[in-house]
C-alpha cells in the first residue's frame, strides 16, 4: 500500500469530479435552476407587455434578473447536502487549504447551474425580442457575471448552511450583494447598443470576476468554519 500524500491538485480534481458526478446523478437539481430561469423570463411578457418594442427594451434586464434569481435558487445545493451527510466535515479536515476545495465546489456548481443558463440565454433573448447586434455581448456578460453571482452566493450559503429555514435570509444577504453585477451586466449591454466600446465594460466585469474569484472563497471558507462548529 502506498501512503503518498495527495497533492492539492489531486484533491481539487477529486472534489470537482465528485460534485459533477453528484450533479449528474441528481438530474432534478441540475434541471431546476435552468427551468426556473426560463419560467421567470416567460413571466415578463405576460406580466408586463407582449409588445415587441417594450420587450426589446427591457429584455436585457429581464434576462439578467432571471439569471440572478435562478442562481439564488440553485445556491442551496452548494453545501447543504454535504453539510447534512457530513461530507463537509471531511472536506474541512483535509490537510489541503479549504480555500481551494471551496473554489473547486464553486466551479463545479457554476458548471452545472450557471453555464446552462448562459447557453440558453440567446434563445430566451430571441423570444424577448432582444435587440440584434448585442447577442454576443449578452452571452459574454452572462459568462463573466454568473460565476460572480455563484461566488457571492456561496458566502451567503456558507453562513446559513446550519439553519433549518434559510430561504429568505439567503435572499436578503445575497441579493443586495449581487446588485453591482446586475448593474455592470445590464449597462454593458445597453451601452454597446448605443455604440460604446465594449472593452472598458468587459474589463470592469472581468475585474469583478477576478476579485470575487480570489476573495469570495476566502470568505466562504471562513464562514464554513463558523457554521460547521
Amino acid at each position: 500500500m502506498s501512503a503518498v500524500r495527495s497533492t492539492l491538485v489531486g484533491a481539487v480534481l477529486a472534489t470537482l469530479r465528485r460534485d459533477l458526478l453528484i450533479a449528474y446523478r441528481r438530474k432534478n437539481d441540475l434541471l431546476n435552476p435552468f427551468m426556473f430561469f426560463v419560467l421567470v423570463a416567460t413571466l415578463f411578457p405576460i406580466g408586463v407587455s407582449p409588445e415587441p418594442e417594450m420587450l426589446g427594451e427591457i429584455s436585457a434586464g429581464v434576462l439578467w434578473i432571471s439569471a440572478l434569481l435562478a442562481s439564488l435558487l440553485a445556491m442551496d445545493n452548494l453545501f447543504r447536502a454535504d453539510f447534512e451527510d457530513g461530507s463537509l466535515e471531511l472536506l474541512m479536515l483535509s490537510r489541503h487549504p479549504l480555500y481551494f476545495l471551496v473554489l473547486a465546489k464553486n466551479v463545479a456548481h457554476w458548471l452545472v447551474s450557471g453555464l446552462p443558463i448562459v447557453l440558453v440565454s440567446p434563445l430566451i433573448a430571441y423570444m424577448l425580442n432582444f435587440p440584434e447586434g448585442a447577442y454576443s455581448t449578452l452571452v459574454l456578460t452572462l459568462l463573466l457575471g454568473t460565476p460572480v453571482l455563484s461566488l457571492l452566493g456561496s458566502i451567503g450559503v456558507a453562513l446559513t448552511v446550519g439553519l433549518g429555514s434559510r430561504g429568505l435570509i439567503l435572499a436578503v444577504i445575497t441579493l443586495p450583494m449581487s446588485v453591482p453585477v446586475l448593474i455592470a451586466g445590464t449597462l454593458t449591454v445597453s451601452q454597446t447598443l448605443e455604440g460604446a466600446s465594449l472593452s472598458g465594460y468587459l474589463a470592469i466585469m472581468g475585474a469583478m470576476l477576478v476579485a470575487s474569484f480570489t476573495l469570495a472563497p476566502l470568505a466562504s471558507a471562513a464562514a464554513l468554519r463558523v457554521s460547521v462548529n
Binding site: L163, V172, I173, V179, I183, A219, N229
Partner: protein, 247 residues
C-alpha cells in the same frame, strides 16, 4: 508595548463603568448642539425661495445620511477585532450596531424622500444616493436577521462579524456601481445642496451644529444599547447582581 488598555477595553464591566461617567456629558452636549442647530436651521436660515420650506429637512437629512454611512465600517472594524482577538465587547458593538444602523438608514431614507417631494415633486426617485442607502438598508437587515436566525451565540457572533466585513466591502462596490448606473441613466438630477448655491456661513454653520448633534446622538444610542446588551450578557456576573441590588 503596554497592552493593558486593550484588555481593559475588552472588559465589559470596565466599559460599563466608564461609559456611565461619559453619558451625562454626552447627553448634555447633544441637547445643546441640537437646540442651537434646530432653532437656527428652522427659524433663522434665510428661506431658499427655489425649494421652499421643505428644504430645511436638509439639516436633518445630511447629518443622518452621513452617519448612516459609518455603520458598516464600524461593524467591519469591530468584527475584525472580534474575529482576531476574540474581544467580547467588539461583538456587542457588532450586534447592537446592526439594528441601530438599520434605523439610521431608514431615517436617512425617510428624510431624503421628504426632501425629494419639493425637489422632484415625488416621494421617491431612483436617485443614486437614495438607491445606495436602500441597498445598505437591506444589507443591514440581512445582518440583523442572520443574528436572529443563528441561535448559537458564539457562532452567530462570528458569522455576523464575517458578514459585516463582507458587507462593508460590498457597500463600497455598491456605492460606486450605483453612481455609475445613475450617471448613465440620468433619470434625475442629483441633490443640489443649498450650501453649494449660497456658500455663506449662515447656511452651513447651523448644518455643522446639526452634524455634531446627530453624531453625538449616534454615539449615545450606541453606548446605551451596548450597555443594555452588556447587562443582558453578564446578568449572572456578580457586578451586575450588585448593580441590580443597589438600584
Amino acid at each position: 508595548m503596554d497592552w493593558t488598555w486593550f484588555h481593559k477595553w475588552g472588559s465589559p464591566k470596565w466599559f460599563y463603568e466608564l461609559s456611565g461617567k461619559w453619558l451625562p456629558w454626552l447627553v448634555g452636549a447633544m441637547f445643546t448642539f441640537l437646540l442651537i442647530g434646530v432653532t437656527w436651521a428652522l427659524l433663522f436660515v434665510p428661506e431658499d425661495y427655489q425649494q421652499g420650506l421643505t428644504n430645511r429637512i436638509f439639516y436633518v437629512h445630511v447629518p443622518v445620511a452621513s452617519i448612516s454611512l459609518a455603520f458598516f465600517p464600524l461593524m467591519a472594524m469591530s468584527g475584525t477585532v472580534f474575529l482576531v482577538w476574540r474581544m467580547k465587547l467588539a461583538d456587542v458593538v457588532v450586534k447592537v450596531a446592526a439594528p441601530l444602523g438599520a434605523w439610521f438608514t431608514a431615517l436617512a431614507l425617510a428624510s431624503g424622500s421628504i426632501w425629494g417631494v419639493d425637489t422632484w415633486g415625488t416621494w421617491w426617485v431612483w436617485d443614486g444616493r437614495l438607491t445606495s442607502l436602500l441597498l445598505q438598508f437591506f444589507l443591514l437587515l440581512g445582518v440583523v436577521s442572520l443574528r436572529t436566525a443563528l441561535e448559537d451565540s458564539e457562532g452567530a457572533a462570528r458569522a455576523c462579524a464575517l458578514l459585516s466585513i463582507v458587507g462593508c466591502i460590498n457597500v463600497v462596490v455598491i456605492k460606486y456601481s450605483v453612481d455609475w448606473w445613475n450617471t448613465l441613466h440620468q433619470t434625475s438630477s442629483n441633490f443640489t445642496l443649498a450650501a453649494d448655491q449660497a456658500n455663506g456661513p449662515e447656511i452651513w454653520l447651523p448644518l455643522i451644529f446639526m452634524i455634531v448633534a446627530v453624531y453625538l446622538f449616534f454615539a449615545i444610542s450606541l453606548i446605551l444599547s451596548t450597555r443594555n446588551e452588556i447587562l443582558q450578557r453578564e446578568k449572572r456576573a456578580q457586578w451586575v447582581m450588585d448593580l441590580v441590588a443597589k438600584s
